[in-house]
């Protein structure tokens, strides 16, 4: 299953709803292009909704890290929302769970962005 990304705006925050697999190849490219596009448009408050992401491999983890640092380097914030158990466990064992700001409630996540 390939990855799909769609964006919506809520209170100045861009929510990216991702579905499918973030893996080497197409999935990672979709995420990279989406973040690049948003930063190009000056949208720097980004909430990645991973609720429908079934699988992430090392390449996908790298792409999440890249997204996180790219947004931060431009003075923005990137948070993660609705991790599945599999993705949660993967971020735990790679010690990235504490690096990312992980939320499980959309409204709470939006209000946690600096306004």
């Amino acid at each position: 299953m390939s990855m799909k990304a769609s964006t919506r705006q809520v209170d100045g925050v861009t929510i990216v709803d991702l579905s499918g697999r973030i893996t080497l190849g197409e999935g990672s490219v979709v995420l990279r292009d989406t973040i690049k596009d948003l930063l190009g448009k000056g949208q720097k408050k980004i909430l990645l909704n991973l609720g429908d992401v079934s699988y992430i491999d090392s390449s996908g983890i790298g792409e999440l890290v890249s997204a996180f640092t790219s947004v931060r380097n431009q003075g923005g914030e990137l948070k993660l929302l609705h991790l599945t158990k599999k993705v949660h466990d993967l971020l735990q064992i790679t010690k990235l769970y504490t690096v990312f700001d992980v939320k499980d409630d959309e409204a709470g996540a939006i209000s946690a962005f600096a306004h």
Partner: protein, 139 residues
């Protein structure tokens, strides 16, 4: 197998089937599939560098006690001990270098052997009692 992304995906599917046949539960199967995916990425991306003239060999063996996966490439090889620890604070934000760590995280044993040319990775998942029971029940 060819040094393509399709081979990575195919190997992952094969690993899941093999792990199911070995009686592993869903979580463990998923870990084995991921380890195999990472091993194939290592072989095709870092080893053979997508060179279609170079092949990757993948084999599965089950001896009743262990599921043994072997992946070999024809690349220039590498020294596993020299791969930086991805959990070290200074490496946490690196965008690559987690593949071998994930193989080790999901398998019981991971060994590397230098070939001429290339690298062979052997990954072992031990089958616990309940998995052996499941296997026996399904045969």
């Amino acid at each position: 197998m060819e040094s393509t992304l399709e081979s990575v995906n195919k190997a992952e599917e094969m690993a899941d089937q093999q792990a199911a046949r070995a009686g592993l539960d869903e979580d463990t199967r998923s870990g084995v599939s991921m380890a195999v995916r990472e091993g194939m990425i290592n072989a095709i991306l870092h080893g053979n560098a997508y060179d279609t003239n170079k092949r990757v060999n993948l084999s599965f063996e089950q001896n009743g006690r262990e599921l043994i996966v072997t992946i070999s490439d024809e690349g220039r090889g590498f020294i596993p001990e020299e791969v930086p620890d991805p959990l070290a604070p200074e490496n946490l934000l690196k965008t690559s270098g987690r593949g071998i760590f994930l193989m080790r995280a999901f398998m019981d044993e991971v060994r590397f052997r230098k070939l001429n040319p290339g690298t062979e990775i052997t990954m072992i998942k031990r089958l616990q009692g309940s998995e052996l029971d499941r296997q026996e029940a399904s045969t």
